[in-house]
């Protein structure tokens, strides 16, 4: 039994356990939506102090080396490493009050990437999956057309970013190659260069004339060869779609735009993500590692990573806004937790899950808004505190998915997407 069959019979099998009554609970299912999401993951946990929640009045061992920069909203300051984002602040919200208690990478990744805490304690190095990730759920929920993947992750899958019981077809399609390179191509979705002439066409025709194994036309037979044909038809659809092919080819982008995002790996991935979401991919994760600054945090932030983030993400948001795509594209920027208030002996900050800042833009999220706050020294979220479940509920709702949706896992147990999450109401203007 294939996974999809399982899910179908699984859902049906729940019937006896009262599926109708469960569905009855879902009368407030969110409206159909075509919102897309660009999910920027700062792996390791960025510092809230050195990004969106600076504490200039805190003692120096907390305040750190950096100054602040005023934003478009009077009285709101970011760390001075983010001047471009400060200028674009009227296009996004920063939630300064997401807090949880999963203070290591393994558990924190899982919590923020799925909306579910791990059911058992896991260690820092754990790469675990107990629950489907946002991208996999979106892929499962959306019927994506023309053979496009429903969930793309670049340059790699994030920890806990997998499908869990939703099955491999909702695992992210990983684009590992660097779009900043001259010969970059999205793998597999375009014809190999060697045959990009008339040969491609003749190949396709040859294949068609030779793929003669008899198909069982009776649907009751559930012939995998028939399913095979459907997948190939969609694959050809994608390969021959001008629109999709243009989206994959980042070289179509005007040089000026490419420059705006920053001519580096990360900047160009953001631009690629924009192109992919525009053509209909509903969920793209842009993974950006290296934020676990236990040592030399200030030196590290002075290097390119903060600047690239500042330039790339502000360019993305501005670009989406100019193109009129921000209304149906949500941009989310976060890591698994914040960093410790006190700078440690190695000039770094350690893990701190009791406060973190999350940037959210698009899909009706108000601009120039700060949600929640931490205390004066930045130790704890202390106003409008939200949990990862709340973040997850908000994300799903924005994507048109009811966070209370119930799906059967491999043991046919009913699993709710998010348990007891509430919406971050400030994001619904």
């Amino acid at each position: 039994m294939g996974r999809r069959d399982f899910i179908q019979t699984g859902l049906g099998a729940l019937g006896g356990l009262g599926l109708t009554s469960m569905l009855g609970l879902q009368s407030r299912a969110a409206a159909k939506s075509d919102t897309r999401c660009i999910f920027i993951w700062l792996d390791g946990g960025p510092s809230h102090y050195e990004t969106f929640d600076p504490k200039p009045d805190a003692p120096s061992e907390i305040r750190g080396e950096f100054g602040t920069v005023p934003t478009t909203v009077p009285g709101v300051h970011f760390s001075d490493k983010f001047p471009h984002l400060a200028k674009s602040f009227d296009r996004f919200t920063v939630v300064r009050s997401i807090a949880h208690a999963q203070n290591n990478h393994g558990a924190g990744n899982h919590y923020l990437m799925t909306g579910a805490p791990t059911p058992v304690p896991v260690g820092c190095g754990a790469y675990v999956t107990f629950h489907p990730s946002y991208g996999s759920v979106v892929s499962h929920h959306r019927k994506v057309e023309h053979g496009l993947p429903g969930y793309i992750s670049t340059p790699r899958m994030s920890r806990s970013g997998g499908p869990n019981f939703l099955g491999a077809q909702h695992a992210p399609f990983v684009i590992s190659d660097n779009p900043d390179k001259k010969d970059f191509r999205v793998r597999d979705v375009t014809l190999p260069r060697a045959i990009q002439d008339g040969r491609a066409k003749s190949r396709v025709e040859l294949r068609k004339s030779l793929d003669q194994m008899r198909r069982m036309t009776d649907a009751a037979a559930e012939d995998p060869a028939v399913a095979f044909d459907e997948y190939y038809a969609k694959a050809f659809d994608l390969v021959t779609s001008d629109e999709a092919q243009k989206a994959f080819d980042i070289s179509h982008e005007p040089e000026a735009v490419r420059e705006k995002y920053g001519r580096n790996d990360f900047g160009q991935r953001l631009l690629l993500a924009r192109r992919l979401t525009e053509v209909g991919v509903p969920f793209v994760t842009v993974y950006n590692g290296g934020w676990d600054d236990h040592r030399s945090l200030f030196t590290n932030y002075k290097k390119s990573k903060a600047e690239r983030l500042d330039i790339g993400v502000s360019a993305l948001i501005e670009d989406l806004a100019e193109r009129g795509s921000l209304d149906n594209t949500m941009v989310v920027l976060l890591g698994e937790f914040g960093r410790t208030p006190k700078i440690n002996k190695d000039g770094g900050r350690d893990h701190w899950s009791f406060a973190m800042s999350v940037l959210m833009a698009g899909a009706g999220i108000p601009g120039g808004q700060i949600v929640g706050a931490t205390d004066v020294k930045g130790y704890y979220a202390n106003e409008n505190i939200y949990a990862p479940e709340d973040f997850a509920s908000t994300l799903y709702t924005k994507m048109g998915i009811d966070p209370q949706t119930i799906l059967p896992d491999t043991n046919n147990r009913p699993i709710q997407l998010v348990n007891n999450g509430r919406l971050i109401k400030e994001l619904f203007a």
Binding site: M1, G2, R3, G12, A13, G15, G16, L17, G18, S21, M22, L25, G123, A126, T129, F130, G147, P149, G162, G167, A168, Q169, A171, F173, V174, R187, D188, V189, T190, P192, R193, R199, R203, L206, R207, L210, D211, Q212, M213, D218, A220, A221, E222, D223, P224, A225, F228, Y231, Y232, K234, A235, L238, V239, Q404, I406, T410, N411, R413, P414, Q416
Partner: protein, 732 residues
Amino acid sequence: MKRLLPLLLLGLLSGLPSLRASSPATISFENDVLPIMTRAGCMLGSCHAKSDGQNGFQLSIFSFDPDSDYREIVYDARGRRIFPSSPDHSLLLLKATNTIPHEGEQRFAKDSEFYKVLRQWIAEGAPRHIPDEPEPVSISITPPELSFKKNETLPIKVTVTYSNGKTRDVTHLSEFTSNDVAFAQVDHDGNITAGAVPGENSVIVRYVEQVAAVRVVIPPDKLLPPETYTALPKNNPIDELSYARFQELGLFPSDPCRDDEFLRRATLDVLGRLPSLEETRAFLADTSPDKRAKLADRLLSPAHRFEYADFWATKWGDLLRPDTRRVGVKPVYLLDQWIREKFRDNTTWDDFVTELLTATGSSHEYGPVAVLRDKREPFEMSEFVGQLFLGVRLNCAQCHHHPSEKWSQDDYYSMAAFFGSMKRKGQGISAPISGEPEYWWFEPGGKVTHPVSEAVMPPKPPDTPVFTDMDPDTDPRAIFADWLTTKENPFFARAMVNRIWAEMFGKGLVDPVDDFRESNPAANAPLLEWLARDFAEHGFDQKHTLRRILNSRLYQQSSEPNEHNVGDKRNFSRSYRRRLPGEVLLDSISLITAQPEKLTGLPADARAMQQWNHLLPSDFLDAFGRPDSSAAPPCERETGGSVVQALHLMNSDRLQTKLSGKSPWLDELVKKPAAEAVDEIYLRLFSRHPRDEEKQIGVRHIGTPAEGETTRPQIEDLVWSLLNSAEFVLNH
């Protein structure tokens, strides 16, 4: 709400359950109240039985913890949920009838029987128990078996027998689940509606902790005359027992497959690779009548033990190998090598399992210790063993009674007790490195306790009496392994032959392979029994059972359906087409093109099937599905197709590079006449000669080379076309 407050306060002051009605109570909390709430949907995993409850009201899933449910209903929320002096004002009833707004809407009406019973229970003072309260001992279903016309609906009745001997109709208090909703559906009240496909399955009925299954039979519209079956060739009892079943179901088996199909299928199923050119030519040319049996012997002979081991170790690696990031690289590598060695030596399954289950020592010296290091707690180990070697999914019973089987928490923790006497020292789990060894050994006196009753559980397998006179100085795991691997063991041989069967036919006789339940019947129970007995009598030798299967006419059927079996997806009356696993496809392509895949951490000419963990990077294997090693094994693999797979086979640069790279075979082909080249390509990829039309198309495409050029590109196109066709990607 406001006007209720004084009343609620009154309820609070009245000192709740001490308030008793004068006449003896008649409504039982466990036998009446909880079943009603279950039926009403209150105790669903999506409602009040969620891990955090719903709006502060938290019930146990499947009401497995009545004490806690009682506390929640009667005492929690300052006792405002029930109100004995004015039962109709109990929050429980007001919410359930949606009299005051209830997120779950109305669960039953005020004039319903459910309401009356709950109201009476509250009026009687909401007792935890009533005097002489009986326990349900068993439930029976009438009729126990139902025969349906297609799309017909019939009711069933559920009768409980209590410990006091009394019986009662509890149809209205029971829950019903169809084991296969495509086959038959069942509504809330136990009315079963048959589907349109003949066959047999079951509907599961549950009342309190009692579970029973009713057999649902949909006979075929028309049976074929018995002589139709007697005329069929029978190679061994697999065929006899299968025909008997087909006869009952009105199915007729497909024709025998062609020789080339048998060669390809058998080689893929036993060794996980395509037949070589030489093997194909020799087999097709062989005119001896027993050449299929000879092929079976050849595939199973020690000469092929390395290929055999790598293929079967890949399957078992999915089930046994932990995540390297959790238990460390070296332990996983050692375990992987151990598994390969066992298959190379064709270690019989009783020895394999005994060695695996009784492992002790250093994680950095002895492979099977990796399993201990991964499944650190006794219950983790017993769940794993139950699922793999007993075919029983005990994991539900960790927290609550299994919803569709008889397994209880007692069964769960008794089984875990076999694994509760292990000690360890050394580095624990400190992913991602876990670089240092850990040592495991047996030390007498370990205990496993029941989490609710806190009783110390004696080691006991499910459905088996407690072992008397267990030597306290013997590792209980060894006692368990001895019990497991006796010929008479009711679980082991069945579970193992079912797994072997599933590998050869694409689906188990019991499906899913590790979900043996009375309520999940085998497609052909007598056949499964025979296979299990035959397997046990032949020393749990996997190759023996494989040979039986290979030699059966059933295995040698065509995948082409006939009018009497086209809808059959469960009874094996035709060969089921299956997609080749990722490793098999990748290795085949590498072999055909003579371009080995570069595999991280393995020698240059290694095959994908030799990979010892699933984290080694490969876009190909990601596309074609490999287990997610960050989920706990036993892991499932995606076996279906996808657009990503199609795209990868069509367009991947690596595949194109392989096709256009230096390849002795392709380079030779270029020099041959076109017709010969086409023939050879078909033999290599499809294990058959091309049909005339195919040959013509191929020859026409190859054509004649232009001056100074070769036909290499055209030959590559031809190979590409065949690689991207259903006949290549599927085992058929």
